[in-house]
Symmetry: C2
Subunit: 287 residues, 2 copies
């Protein structure tokens, strides 16, 4: 059996009791470590589980999944995913491969907390979110702006948008590769400020008012941990906010933001007076 187990968001004790029991008895334990990261390291996990943990990078999962699935028809294998397994397509990939395996490998998934619902900590109603978008690190030559259309679609319905921020873990260093060496860049995690900055850049180019400077947004960092941080403000304010260490995410508020959501989220405002002024002028009563 392949168990795909969500670890939750913060540390080694966010796994479910059921998940922990399975991990401690599994023949092998893998940790998917390229779409998200926990706030604890591999050694802390291994000490807590009492088991060695094999780090599964993108290459292993996407190109060498046979090593992960080896003997899964007769042994229990645990594949750990930070957050919730269903919140990344990795799960569907692996589960499809298990189905197509000869003989098919039975799978079982243990859900857990996800950033998709943990953003409820902002006070914004999860029922009023539209489609989720991703923001990648822009480069000189690569500035994908498809997020802008999708955020615009959500905004057209008054819905909030959760923006998931790029992380770069174990990315090959292309310059070194060109010289024949395999070297990986240092990990990078996009911050709320970087995301807000890129949104303002694209708004300046597209000019449809989807994510202008005075749009209200909420930045979140390290949700689910004791050290979590939530900061609300205009996109311009968030472009200058420092929420500390990763992981960060950003929510662009939709105009359907209800009085009760506002009452809750304003407590996190960089500048409460300004937040209230913008909300009353642009959002209140639009729902």
């Amino acid at each position: 059996m392949l168990y795909i187990i969500g670890l939750g968001l913060a540390d080694e004790r966010d796994v479910s009791v059921k998940g922990l029991e399975i991990i401690r008895k599994a023949s092998r334990v893998y940790l998917e470590a390229y779409t998200a990261v926990l706030l604890v390291n591999q050694q802390q996990l291994e000490a807590y589980y009492g088991r060695p943990v094999i780090i599964a990078d993108r290459e292993m999962v996407e190109s060498h999944s046979d090593s992960i699935l080896a003997s899964a028809d007769t042994h229990d294998i645990a594949f750990l995913v930070v957050g919730d397994p269903f919140s990344a397509t990795t799960h569907t990939d692996l589960a499809l491969r298990c189905r197509q395996h000869d003989p098919p490998i039975p799978t079982r998934t243990l859900p857990n907390a996800s950033i998709l619902t943990a953003v409820g900590a902002t006070g914004l109603s999860l029922y009023t979110f539209g489609q989720t978008v991703s923001m990648v690190f822009f480069t000189e030559s690569w500035r994908p702006a498809s997020f802008y259309d999708r955020v615009g679609e959500n905004a057209g319905l008054g819905l909030h948008t959760l923006v998931l921020l790029d992380i770069k873990v174990k990315e090959p260093d292309l310059e070194a590769m060109a010289r024949g060496r395999v070297v990986y860049e240092a990990p990078r995690f996009m911050s709320v400020a970087q995301c807000a900055g890129q949104m303002l850049e694209v708004e300046a180019e597209r000019g449809q008012g989807v994510c202008g400077r005075e749009r209200l947004a909420v930045g979140v960092a390290r949700l689910g941990s004791e050290d979590e941080r939530i900061v609300a403000g205009t996109l311009e304010e968030l472009a200058g906010a420092d929420l500390g260490p990763p992981l960060h995410s950003l929510v662009l508020c939709g105009k359907k933001m209800h009085e009760m959501e506002w009452e809750y989220v304003r407590e996190f405002a960089v500048d409460r007076e300004k937040f209230d002024r913008v909300w009353k002028a642009e959002y209140k009563g639009q729902g």
Copy 2:
């Protein structure tokens, strides 16, 4: 401290390790038991926690929260929520009351799996869901159809819609009340078939093609448990499907349904040949 702790979806061992430790040490333990239910009963929870569990019905939470918050400034109180605390507005209500308490009561929330992300078990991408809607039991005189407009908005963007189904727990029996007695009706949980039937009724009245008989949908039951059940088909097929005991939810598929989502979800089809035919004619390539 008031701890608002998500229990996850299925049984007593879906709580996080961290949550369980808090519950076992808390001065009092409440269970919110009117917006969702676990698949185990109060006695099983109490035996597992080694603690008495106080059932918090809607009246207690909404009108008598003082009893829940009593001494929370000096003692640890655990308030348990099935699924994820943020996925219901109860959390925001209670947390706001704690803020406004004199002196303010510190709160901490422990997220967990939610139906909002557990529907990823269908293979549908969580990033392609629009706003979430609720479906209530229709009566002769009360047939709220506001869901139709919101499903229509999602469908207009090609997005999936998660429909959360009504549950009636400890509802007063109005006839008995009129005779001066306080009697509660037996609990009722809406099924996928009932939901699909009501959607078809409203479609027949509104006629905009939002949720007609040939729209693809996926019904889910008891997600996260070993006994979970997923059934895909047209809305007409789902109106005749029996997914067994509660809790049920339904997803109406959006036209952006990707080839990979289709490949996964068709395994659950009532009639795979028909499912494929409708997908190819109406959905494929619309994303």
